[in-house]
């Protein structure tokens, strides 16, 4: 039987929404207070949804393995970091919640098959909550 299991993680980080392709006035008009030159931060929440078959142990995925993967790929590299200054992915890309979700999804999927194998569960969805009100979800990758 197919079940979806969702697990939530959290990391604090700072960022600034500012594009080098835009003028200062355009950045302010586009990103508002998120363009503050000194940056600002959030406690991001990352929710991963794994879809798969319930095995003989009653589980879709080994939570220890999922936790280790999240720690290695997401939490350790992002925790207490300035996303713009310290993460290669955001040197030229604005760290909006949309782009952050895409980077989290890319990192997890780059190692997913190697960790769980070809018959393993699928990473169906990545959701990032920047705040309780700002939520970005990647589930359809077409």
């Amino acid at each position: 039987m197919i079940v979806r299991l969702s697990r939530r993680y959290s990391f604090p980080a700072s960022h600034r929404l500012h594009s080098a392709a835009l003028s200062d006035a355009e950045n302010r008009a586009t990103y508002g207070k998120c363009d503050n030159p000194q940056g600002h931060g959030h406690d991001y929440e990352v929710e991963l949804t794994v879809r798969g078959v319930v095995d003989a142990t009653g589980r879709v995925v080994d939570l220890g393995t999922l936790d280790r993967l999240a720690e290695e790929q997401i939490l350790a590299p992002f925790r207490y970091r300035n996303l713009n200054a310290e993460l290669e992915a955001f040197r030229a890309v604005v760290p909006t919640t949309e782009n952050l979700s895409a980077e989290v999804d890319r990192r997890l999927r780059s190692v997913w098959a190697g960790v769980f194998g070809p018959a393993g569960p699928e990473l169906e969805k990545v959701r990032i909550l920047e705040t309780e009100r700002n939520i970005c979800e990647i589930s359809d990758r077409t």
């Binding site: 197919i2 079940v3 299991l5 969702s6 939530r8 142990t57 009653g58 080994d62």
Partner: protein
């Protein structure tokens, strides 16, 4: 009017042990970790039941929510609340009461009796074991 989904939450408290008699003590410890403690532990479970259908043109409702509440009290709360799942709730005398298996069992208990009018069908059962862990079952896929 196109199809919509309406969801209702209920909460219950129960104890369980994640331990399979088919596995050794060491294997149980490796797979389930602290949840394999033979003396058991408990959670405040939150169950979110989602029903899909088209609102009735007269009542504006997909289904009678009072009846859904009664159904959840009758089929789920009266069975699960303040119980030891392994010892008191079948099928968990035979299968491990992981959050995945609980979502499937709750679906099986209510799926066929969600609606007598034929307007609505059970869409998903989500079981939150803690605020950071949730399993969702949508029936056979």
């Amino acid at each position: 009017m196109s199809s919509m989904i309406i969801s209702k939450k209920i909460e219950f408290s129960a104890s369980h042990v994640c331990r399979s008699p088919q596995l050794s003590d060491a294997e149980n410890q490796r797979i389930y970790g602290a949840a394999a403690n033979p003396l058991g532990h408990g959670h405040n479970y939150v169950v979110e039941v989602s029903v899909e259908g088209r609102p009735d043109p007269v009542t504006g409702m997909i289904l009678d929510l009072k009846r859904l509440k009664e159904l959840l009290e009758d089929k789920i709360l009266s069975v699960y609340d303040h119980r030891h799942l392994n010892l008191e709730v079948a099928p968990f005398d035979r299968i491990v009461p992981t959050v995945e298996n609980m979502a499937i069992d709750i679906w099986n208990r209510i799926g066929s009796s969600i609606d007598r009018t034929g307007r609505a069908r059970l869409y998903s059962v989500r079981v939150h074991e803690t605020s950071d862990l949730c399993a969702e079952y949508r029936g056979e896929e």
